[in-house]
Symmetry: D2
Subunit: 149 residues, 4 copies
């Protein structure tokens, strides 16, 4: 058995950094990353941001407590990205509600912004209805919250 | 050889209707349609709306004229959808620019709105820069344009 | 509310025919359908073959009876398919076991075979272990079974 | 600008190791990784195995030399994998032809094999026809070739 843990990105202050390489699966016949796939990159980055910060989503899901679902996304596509490009997803918590949080995510290639999105995630119970987030999670989010608006 | 053409939806006035069934590939471990996959449903519906209206995107792509790329999406998730659900993507042109158009798309399950999005598509040349849409396409869009705002 | 049921393909004797159009989401930067996406086309076709034949997988899943999982796939890629191509997935039951069935699936573009696969699906219980298929399902498969080997 | 290069796995002798975490995008309503998505994991691992070994596929694609396409896959699913699982794709070159190579890939979770596949990749020119691989690539493959059969 080999010991090779998956990549999870890292924090730089309040920013979570998550590098992504563009593979064939991510591209389309226009030769660029298919627009919906940026949402997949962003979800990976958010999942790992929470994990690295100490929030265990799978335990909450398995324990019947609840799960984050995406409630709202406003995404802008500024540039295209191509096969083999090295991208960086930069994520930052912007707002924390009782049952939701807002995260801003930018996909960068070097200094150029490829796309950016404001993502609202809502915490819902097993019945699919909004539910107050665990208190220690809210505290984690408060610590992570960036100053920018 | 069998004669069985693919489904393309149909117009009902200015609305394009495109039915989608939810398969395993569309769902995630939360038991519902994965949020990014609604953008795939919507892209299928937009492609077929244009096709049925007489706009040949592949010829434009192959001829080096240009292609539509998604520039901006604002999407709201109102309800979840499950395996085997029968959904309907209802699309309508809202605004036409020189090099872009705005389409409103709703994903319905019966009378219930599952998600809806305002999608801005930009026409770009082979160099990736904005380019004026073919004039006859603009005329088609003008005919399709809904009255709603 | 609009009445527009999703497309499910149809039987022609023992063959289930399911038409698919190639959208941007299906392609990659090579300009062709991404190889893993043929498995998605085939899964859609299998799901609808079962549905049209009278097998209700969602009821079995929701009722805790079990679900089909893919156990084995041998797939050959003969030709590539491009954006906007009209494809036809032709599926046929080949073998029926106590807890599994083998389905042959071809993806055709007119008379040309694009890809074909032999897919073994195993029926498993909620515990993930092989389980005998419902008897009336086996009877349905027996009726559907093609003569070809 | 942040310096955070994407993960590419590493070689351990002739084996290329590539760790993957399971995200929501990879799973389906059965609560496990969707079967077609293992082909995506394997493609990422193959791409990075070639990259780390010194083969620049994008330069070959951009230069009009050719590209690898998947010609044949035989994949077996032994166990299921769940959200958040830490998987390892272990890849090894098995056979080298004039215009193709065969790679064996296993997806492991600890000591347990989740799935494994024998993948034949063919090198094709811009016309889509088989073409002899660059000679220095063949030499790289020869060095990478495992002893196992």
């Amino acid at each position: 058995m080999h010991n090779e843990p998956p990549y999870s990105g890292r924090f730089d202050g309040t920013l979570h950094l998550f590098a992504v390489r563009v593979y064939f699966e991510d591209t389309d016949a226009g030769g660029v990353v298919y627009h919906a796939n940026y949402l997949r990159f962003m979800e990976r980055a958010r999942s790992d941001m929470l994990r690295v910060a100490g929030i265990d989503q799978r335990a909450a899901l398995d324990g019947g407590d609840g799960v984050y679902v995406v409630a709202d996304v406003a995404i802008k596509y500024h540039r295209s990205a191509k096969l083999d490009d090295e991208l960086l997803v930069v994520s930052e918590v912007r707002k924390i509600g009782a049952a939701s949080c807002v995260i801003h995510q930018r996909v960068m290639r070097g200094d150029a912004m490829v796309t950016d999105a404001m993502v609202t995630a809502a915490f819902v119970g097993p019945d699919g209805r909004p539910r107050r987030q665990p208190r220690d999670w809210t505290e984690i989010f408060e610590r992570l919250k960036g100053a920018a608006q």
